[in-house]
């Protein structure tokens, strides 16, 4: 077969272009996946969750909320549109919208306050939609965020059925005193999303509890009387403890918006 000079140059050009594209796309792909092989091996398979008992809450008490806000440098902005919330109080109709067609319940529960926060779902919608893996579900059942990777697209804010995620429209330092309340915990920055982290910075698998639970227990004089209970939902001892409370105080466990299918792990004993 005879190859003309023109054909040879064409072929050589094509071949080298192909080589460059293959090599560079390979480099790009490996560059894009720094999380491959990053396993959370140091963690045990647990299923951390929260039990809240609204009837144990004292009227006007904001101990848990204050403790969380202080220890996590949660900013307070004047404009309500810029609000950042990790754990907060809302009324029953806002937390359990699906029950509001039930006239009897509606009348009885209309102004009953409920503590709400991130539900650390077993099937989290936020994790599914995050394009950068900035938010992820850890082996111990906690849904957490890597603020370094968050690009502020707010898909997760839209996906979360509980409104548990807040976006930093403003520099959070503008809503905090200087120096910040807890210098050992980083603030976030303008343009990232944030939410409750079940105090992942603490030794919650060991001797410590989340700050909100700790604050409540301290106020009530012990974990047994606390309105917030934190633990491994798969642990038989923990299960037994919760079942006993349900039996003794005649309570049933509710979860928010079960119909969304996210399997929330914050239970309300009512």
């Amino acid at each position: 077969m005879e190859v003309t000079r023109r054909e040879f140059i064409k072929l050589a050009g094509l071949a080298s272009a192909g080589a460059v594209v293959t090599a560079s796309s390979g480099a790009l792909l490996t560059g894009c996946s720094p999380l491959v092989g990053m396993e959370d091996e140091s963690l045990n398979d647990t299923n951390m969750g929260m039990i809240t008992i609204p009837s144990r809450c004292e009227e006007g008490c904001t101990g848990c909320i204050d403790a969380c806000n202080k220890m996590h440098n949660v900013p307070k902005h004047d404009n309500k549109d810029h609000e950042i919330k990790w754990i907060w109080e809302t009324e029953f109709p806002h937390a359990f919208t699906e029950y509001m067609e039930n006239e009897i319940l509606k009348e009885r529960m209309e102004h009953v306050p409920f503590l709400v926060m991130c539900n650390h779902c077993s099937n989290p919608a936020c994790v599914r939609v995050c394009p950068t893996q900035a938010t992820f579900r850890r082996k111990d059942g906690m849904v957490l965020m890597d603020y370094h990777r968050c690009i502020g697209c707010r898909f997760c804010v839209a996906a979360c059925p509980y409104g548990a995620r807040s976006f930093n429209f403003k520099d959070p330092k503008k809503g905090l005193e200087d120096p910040v309340p807890n210098p050992n915990f980083p603030t976030r920055t303008k343009g990232v999303v944030e939410k409750c982290n079940f105090c992942s910075e603490r030794d919650i698998h060991g001797s410590e509890l989340p700050y909100c639970v700790e604050a409540c227990a301290n106020k009530k004089g012990g974990v047994e009387a606390s309105a917030l209970i934190f633990g491994d939902l798969d642990n038989p001892e923990f299960k037994e403890r919760i079942e006993k409370i349900q039996k003794d105080e005649k309570l049933i466990p509710l979860r928010r918006k079960e119909i969304a299918g996210t399997q929330p792990k914050v239970y309300y004993l009512v």
Partner: protein
């Protein structure tokens, strides 16, 4: 070749502009004064790893620490250079809090010299200064 002089001048101007990043700092003298790194008295004799490694790779180390802590809740770092020594993986507590209490003289001087602006301190608090 037509217009040789114009083309040659054009090429020279283009090359001069294109290579600005390589010669500007030499000409302007910005690069002449090497910053003097001040080690705070709290720092002691050794860093987490040896000095050469830290000088070249501290950002890689911090990146690894970040992923370990955020994704694996793994906070303990055992030094390669000093086996048996355990450090808490924390920029604020360990690096700035225990040793480099003089961020402006230690971190900032070098970062300014090489014209990098790391975003670490937008969120991580500075203690000690």
């Amino acid at each position: 070749m037509y217009d040789t002089s114009k083309i040659v001048i054009g090429i020279i101007v283009f090359l001069a502009v294109f290579t600005i990043p390589f010669w500007y700092s030499q000409v302007s003298g910005d690069a002449d004064e090497m910053p003097e790194i001040v080690i705070a008295p709290e720092a002691g004799d050794q860093c987490v790893e040896d000095v050469d490694y830290m000088r070249a790779k501290h950002m890689d180390l911090l990146n690894t620490w970040r992923n370990d802590v955020v994704r694996g809740a793994d906070r303990e770092y055992e030094s390669d250079a000093y086996p048996g020594v355990i450090y808490d993986k924390s920029l604020t507590d360990t690096c700035l809090g225990q040793c480099h209490t003089n961020k402006s003289e230690f971190c900032d001087q070098c970062h300014t010299y090489v014209n990098v602006e790391p975003g670490c301190w937008e969120c991580h608090n500075i203690v000690g200064e």
